[in-house]
C-alpha cells in the first residue's frame, strides 16, 4: 500500500485559509472559526513534520485565529444598550475578501498575459533578448567564422620569446636536390618543389638556390602571371659546372 501526501503550494496564510474556504464550501462571511482553526493548525503540523520551514506569517495567522476563537467563546456581556457587538471575525473576513479580490485579479492578469504571448511585435523586441543561442548559428557563414577566429587569435597574449632553430640546409644542398628532381625532365614547377619542403626557411633556402642556379645559367625561369607558378627549365651545358661550383 502506498500513501501519498499532496501538498499544495500556498503563497501565504491567507491563501491557505481561502483554500479551506473553497474546499469545504464555507461562506466567507460566516466562517466556522473553530473548525478552520483546527484545519489550519493541522496543516502547520503537517508542514512541520515534513521539515518545511514555516514562515513567520503562518505563525502569526495561527495566533490571530486562536485569538478570534477565544473571543468567540467568551460570553458577551449583554450590552445594556443592545448595541450590536462587532463580530471578532470582521477583520479577518475583510482581509480574506480583499486578498481574494486581488487573487482573482491576478488570475485575470494571467489570462491577459497568456493571450498577449500569442502575438508578436513586428520588430525585434530589445527587451526580450531570448532567442536560443543555437539559432544564431543559422546565419553564420565561413567568412564570419574566419573573422571570429582572427579576432580570437588577436586577443591571445603575444609570445614574448622566439625560439631560433639552426638552419640545417644549405643552398648547395638544395641545388643538388633540385638537380635530383630534374632527373630526365627538362622542366620543373616551383610549387611542385615547394610541396616537398617542410617550412618557410626551407622554401627560402630553396628559392635562393634557384636564384643561384639562374645566376650561374644552369636554369632559366619563367612565369606566366604574377603570383603564378614558376617554371624552371634546364640549360643543359652548364649543369655540371654549377654542381662543381656549389
Amino acid at each position: 500500500m502506498s500513501y501519498h501526501v499532496k501538498l499544495d503550494v500556498f503563497e501565504g496564510p491567507l491563501d491557505l485559509l481561502l483554500f479551506f474556504i473553497k474546499r469545504d464550501e464555507i461562506n466567507i462571511y460566516d466562517i466556522p472559526i473553530s473548525y478552520i482553526t483546527s484545519e489550519y493548525l493541522q496543516y502547520l503540523e503537517l508542514m512541520k513534520s515534513m521539515n518545511l520551514q514555516l514562515a513567520g506569517e503562518f505563525i502569526y495567522m495561527a495566533s490571530l485565529l486562536m485569538r478570534i476563537k477565544a473571543q468567540m467563546l467568551l460570553p458577551h456581556d449583554i450590552n445594556e444598550n443592545l448595541e450590536e457587538i462587532e463580530d471578532p471575525r470582521t477583520e479577518l473576513v475583510q482581509m480574506l475578501v480583499e486578498y481574494q479580490q486581488y487573487k482573482m485579479a491576478s488570475e485575470t492578469l494571467r489570462n491577459l498575459e497568456e493571450n498577449q504571448q500569442h502575438y508578436h511585435p513586428v520588430s525585434a523586441d530589445p527587451e526580450t533578448p531570448s532567442i536560443d543561442p543555437d539559432l544564431f548559428l543559422w546565419n553564420v557563414n565561413l567568412m564570419d567564422l574566419g573573422v571570429m577566429f582572427h579576432k580570437l587569435i588577436e586577443t591571445l597574449p603575444k609570445p614574448t620569446y622566439y625560439e631560433v632553430d639552426q638552419i640545417r640546409m644549405s643552398i648547395g644542398q638544395q641545388i643538388r636536390f633540385i638537380h635530383s628532381l630534374f632527373g630526365e625532365k627538362s622542366r620543373l614547377r616551383f610549387f611542385e618543389i615547394a610541396k616537398q619542403l617542410k617550412n618557410r626557411v626551407e622554401v627560402v633556402v630553396t628559392f635562393l638556390a634557384i636564384l643561384e642556379m639562374v645566376k650561374s645559367e644552369v636554369v632559366h625561369v619563367s612565369q606566366k602571371d604574377i603570383y603564378g607558378d614558376i617554371w624552371l627549365s634546364k640549360i643543359k651545358t652548364k649543369v655540371q659546372d654549377a654542381v662543381a661550383n656549389a
Partner: protein, 184 residues
C-alpha cells in the same frame, strides 16, 4: 485599397520598435490625423487580405503584431520567450499594484499577508516608483509602467477588468447566501 496616408502609417508602424502614438504619427505626417480611425481601416484591409499581421492598440499607441494563429511557428523562433511566465506571487503583487496604484510596499504586504519582493518586477520593467507618500516615513510609492500595458496587451490601465466585475464573479459563488440574508 490603402490610401497613401494609410501606407505611410503602415510604414511607420513597421519601422517602430514600440507603439506609435497619435501624437508621433501627427508629427511624422505633419498634419492632423485620427490614428485610431486609420488603424481601424488598415485592420479591415488586413482582415480582407487574410494578412498574418494586424495592428494592436497597446499602451496608448498602436503596434504591428502577428496574428495569434501564427504563434506556434513564431514561438519556435523565440523558444525561450514562450516559457517565460510570471510567477503566481509576482502576478498577485502586480494585480495589487495595478489596481491600487500608487501603493506602498507595506500596503501590498498587508493585503497579501506575506512579505513582498518588488525587485524582480522592477527589473522586468513592469513596475516603477511613482514618488513618495506624504507623511511620516515618506514610503516609496509604486505603480505600473507602459511596458506593463504592452506585456498584458492593454491599451490603457483603464482596460483592466474592473474590480467590481471581478467582485461580481466572486459573489456569484459564496455570495448567494449574502444576498439571501439581505433579502430576509
Amino acid at each position: 485599397m490603402l490610401s497613401p496616408t494609410h501606407k505611410i502609417i503602415e510604414a511607420l508602424l513597421f519601422s517602430a520598435s514600440e507603439p506609435i502614438t497619435n501624437e508621433q504619427a501627427k508629427v511624422c505626417l505633419q498634419e492632423e490625423i485620427d490614428l485610431a480611425q486609420i488603424v481601424g481601416e488598415i485592420n479591415e484591409y488586413y482582415e480582407q487580405e487574410k494578412s498574418p499581421i494586424w495592428i494592436q492598440s497597446l499602451s496608448g499607441g498602436y503596434r504591428l503584431m502577428t496574428r495569434s494563429e501564427y504563434d506556434p511557428w513564431i514561438s519556435r523562433l523565440f523558444q525561450s520567450k514562450g516559457n517565460l511566465r510570471l510567477s503566481r506571487p509576482a502576478l498577485e503583487t502586480l494585480s495589487i499594484i495595478a489596481y491600487k496604484q500608487p501603493v506602498t510596499r507595506t500596503e501590498i504586504d498587508s493585503i497579501r499577508g506575506v512579505t513582498t519582493v518588488l525587485k524582480p518586477l522592477i527589473e522586468k520593467n513592469l513596475i516603477e516608483t511613482k514618488g513618495r507618500q506624504e507623511g511620516p516615513g515618506r514610503a516609496l510609492l509604486y505603480g505600473t509602467t507602459s511596458h506593463f500595458l504592452e506585456y498584458f496587451g492593454l491599451a490603457t490601465i483603464k482596460d483592466l477588468p474592473k474590480i467590481k466585475e471581478i467582485e461580481e464573479i466572486m459573489h456569484d459563488e459564496p455570495g448567494e447566501s449574502v444576498q439571501e440574508r439581505e433579502q430576509a
